[in-house]
């Protein structure tokens, strides 16, 4: 028998260490130390109910276990084989106690559709993909369905583009299918540029065939025989696995002429991006594939009408494609049964930032931020306080405590001033200054703006400069008004999605954290102690023991003081790097 004790930061903060020791002690007292093994595990992602103990092999799941409960667990469960009822998880809906972790709703929070094969199959081995229903959807569509039926199925599924815009995929296909042209193209957008989002890379690295399969289906639906994958050159592993997959698929006749005897031809080529975020925008992406500067052009015409080389082109994102085969394998109705009314299926999020379980998760649409952050993500790192979560990357906004129970879908996120984006989710804690965060995103936008239209080229630069002024304590209240007006105008007048959404990080932080802006502007104070010009490091005399650790680590030698004497910081030399604070073991350095 095994006892798994959660050793994640959250549980540790609620004394899982002591619980672990107590369990061992109890077992020893009972002489069971050789029969029952106590093991610490990584975070279960259920920190709200920690500490957690799981019994193997019967999968009993105890929650909110205190060190004092060790005795009872050993005495009852281990010795007598009876569950400790009061420590069982209570289902919040039907109020029933659930003993077996498999039955807990918690396990159903994540459903893997797009990531179904990631981490399960060998991506370089087509056999494993074939064994996992691979290319069966393609076979079914190509040999048993008309393009019209296949498009209808896609429309019925309610799948919306996962790249950020959320345009219904089936409708996009339908538009391209209705334009007559001698050639059409299917493009897979794998130019994942959102800092902090890496689901596309993971899918291509873990399940490249699913994307190829979906591209063939897309091609069949719209009458295209050419597929292009536009991928970031910074993803060498994904490129390599894609190349292997393409080679294998060709060798098996799953790409190429007369696929599966259907008479339909389709082949795929790889094109490389070269580091331009704006190329995530489909018109810019198309120009980039044509060997041009990746500058967006006005829509309409939409790529589905006139795209690559002026031909009708469907551009879909990697995650969107990864969903496609499942929809045909399981049917549209099944897919439409997951998620919310207007956002069907699941969404992959890249959880990052100040959160315990950094990683990729896939959850049904409609799940709340709270469930994602606290139940799946395992809560905030180091037991700090949750402050904000940024969704949608540079196009998105910062959401707060009050949005935690909002069901996540395309429309809800938009309504609260953020965006689904490609699914980056960056969690921030009390140590993050929201003005600085807004500035960080603007810095990104300024660097990534293509420069074609004035509001984005100059406006974002000015936004950044205004934010810089604020973080330096040089701004006045009028600047805040100007800031807001500028945001509105950039949003209203920019040529493409990049500019139209670039003010979101500023607007959402202004809406949700106005007090922080005011503190910077009126009191010349950064409440989170981040903005260098508004803080200073000082040594607290009561706590300083004169260990010299700070002085030794100061890169500019601005800390003076003899051993065992009080140290002082020369503010005129201090570069505010924070090394002294990091090194001090006595809480004697503080940000003022």
């Amino acid at each position: 028998m095994h006892m798994l004790v959660c050793g994640g930061t959250g549980c540790r903060a609620s004394a899982s260490d002591m619980l672990f020791d107590n369990l061992k002690k109890e077992l020893q007292e009972q002489g069971l130390q050789d029969e029952v093994q106590v093991v610490t595990t990584g975070c279960f992602g259920f920190c709200e109910k920690g500490p957690i103990v799981k019994m193997i092999p019967d999968n009993t799941f105890y929650v909110s276990v205190e060190p004092g409960d060790a005795k009872e667990i050993v005495a009852e469960h281990v010795v007598k084989g009876r569950r400790v009822e009061r420590l069982l998880y209570v289902d919040p809906v039907n109020k029933k106690q659930i003993a077996d972790s498999k039955g807990m709703g918690f396990y159903k929070k994540q459903i893997r559709i797009a990531l179904r094969n990631c981490g399960l199959i060998d991506p370089e081995n087509i056999y494993e993909y074939l064994a996992a229903d691979g290319y069966e959807a393609m076979g079914k569509v190509l040999t048993e369905m008309t393009p019209e039926d296949a498009i209808q199925e896609m429309i019925d599924s309610g799948l919306r583009g996962r790249g950020g815009g959320g345009f219904p995929t089936g409708v996009k296909w339908q538009i391209a299918s209705k334009v007559s042209a001698d050639q059409k193209y299917v493009v897979c957008n794998a130019d994942e540029g959102d800092p902090g989002a890496f689901m596309d890379r993971s899918i291509l690295e873990g399940d490249p065939h699913s994307v190829l399969e979906a591209m063939v289906i897309n091609g069949y639906c719209i009458g295209a025989t050419n597929g292009l994958i536009y991928i970031r050159a910074e993803y060498p592993l994904a490129i390599n696995r894609l190349k292997i997959a393409i080679k294998q698929a060709r060798e098996y006749g799953l790409l190429g002429k007369d696929i599966l005897g259907s008479g339909f031809d389709f082949d795929v080529e790889i094109r490389y991006g070269a580091g331009a975020f704006v190329c995530g925008e489909e018109t810019a992406l198309i120009h980039s594939m044509e060997g041009e500067r990746g500058e967006p052009t006005f829509k309409p015409p939409f790529p589905a009408q006139s795209g690559y080389l002026g031909k009708p082109t469907n551009v879909n994102n990697v995650e969107t494609f990864a969903n496609v085969p499942v929809i045909y394998n399981k049917c549209a109705k099944w897919f439409a049964g997951i998620g919310t009314e207007k956002s069907k299926g699941t969404k992959v999020f890249a959880l990052a930032g100040k959160i315990n379980n950094v990683g990729l998760i896939e959850v049904p649409m409609g799940i709340t931020l709270r469930e994602v952050i606290f139940e799946i993500g395992g809560g905030i790192k180091d037991g700090k306080k949750f402050k904000a979560v940024q969704t949608g990357g540079p196009s998105g906004g910062c959401l707060t405590e009050k949005h935690l129970d909002t069901p996540i879908d395309f429309d809800n996120l938009l309504a609260v001033g953020s965006m689904m984006g490609s699914g980056g989710m960056i969690v921030m804690d009390e140590d993050d200054c929201m003005v600085a965060v807004a500035k960080f995103y603007l810095d990104f936008t300024v660097e990534e703006s293509c420069g074609k239209c004035s509001p984005c080229r100059i406006g974002n630069k000015r936004l950044y400069e205004l934010l810089e002024k604020i973080t330096k304590g040089q701004a006045d209240k009028e600047d805040l008004d100007n800031l807001r007006n500028l945001c509105m105008v950039i949003r209203d007048t920019s040529l493409c999605g990049l500019g139209q959404t670039s003010p979101n990080p500023v607007l959402s932080t202004m809406d949700n954290f106005m007090a922080e802006y005011i503190a910077h502007v009126e009191d010349d104070r950064c409440p989170s102690g981040v903005c260098k010009d508004l803080i200073r490091y000082e040594i607290i005399p009561e706590n300083c023991v004169g260990c010299t650790a700070c002085a030794r680590n100061c890169p500019v030698n601005c800390i003076a003081g003899e051993r065992k004497q009080l140290h002082t910081i020369d503010q005129s030399l201090c570069i505010k790097c924070g090394a002294c604070l990091e090194k001090c073991k006595f809480n004697a350095v503080a940000i003022i």
């Binding site: 994942e192 540029g193 959102d194 800092p195 902090g196 989002a197 890496f198 890379r201 993971s202 050159a233 910074e234 993803y235 060498p236 094109r271 490389y272 991006g273 070269a274 580091g275 331009a276 975020f277 980039s288 594939m289 044509e290 060997g291 041009e292 500067r293 990746g294 500058e295 080389l309 890249a350 990052a352 930032g353 100040k354 950094v358 990683g359 940024q390 990357g393 980056g424 960056i426 921030m428 993050d432 965060v437 960080f440 995103y441 990104f444 990534e448 293509c450 890169p555 790097c577 924070g578 090394a579 990091e582």
Partner: protein, 163 residues
């Protein structure tokens, strides 16, 4: 942007011509050709761009326009050990800026430049998708995860010793 004057050898010009030819000398393949050219030379000096322009029958100005648009392309030779600090959001909130500052402080060069001995160059890049390891630093093809300011010295030491 200035570029280092470079004389190409006939063999190198020939190599570029073959690259262009392998892409059917099609203007639409400009970016693919530039990728290959950068693989060969490590960077894209003016002379290389001129040959590419000639081979693909596009104007040099256009080639330069494309090269300067994409951050992946560079006209300056990188250090023997190019250091790239990820400044994506996940790395940012986990202290990438401090790590970057530390590199700049120790090597005494700003971002985008190479140390006088040609050994190290510092660049920033946007998210390598290894957010779980934030903050991330790449030296050449090698990725370092969970880098701290203290760790910077150790990383550099590894390469100092390599020579």
């Amino acid at each position: 942007m200035t570029s280092i004057k470079l004389k190409l050898k006939e063999s190198e010009v020939q190599q570029l011509r073959e690259v262009a030819k392998s892409f059917n000398n099609a203007p639409g393949e400009l970016i693919n050709v530039l990728h290959r050219a950068q693989e060969i030379f490590g960077y894209l000096p003016a002379e290389v761009q001129e040959v590419v322009a000639q081979e693909l029958n596009v104007s040099v100005a256009k080639v330069y326009g494309v090269v300067t648009f994409y951050s992946f392309f560079t006209m300056l030779p990188r250090g023997r050990y190019p250091i790239s600090v990820c400044t994506g959001t996940a790395c940012y909130v986990r202290g990438a800026e401090k790590v970057l500052d530390e590199f700049k402080r120790i090597l005494k060069v700003p971002v985008g430049e190479t140390t006088a001995d040609g050994k190290f160059s510092i660049t920033c890049l946007r998210c390598v998708g290894a957010c779980g390891l934030a903050p991330v630093v790449m030296v050449g093809d090698k990725t370092y995860g969970r880098v701290t300011t203290d760790g910077v010295k150790d990383i550099l030491k590894e390469y100092e010793e390599a020579e």
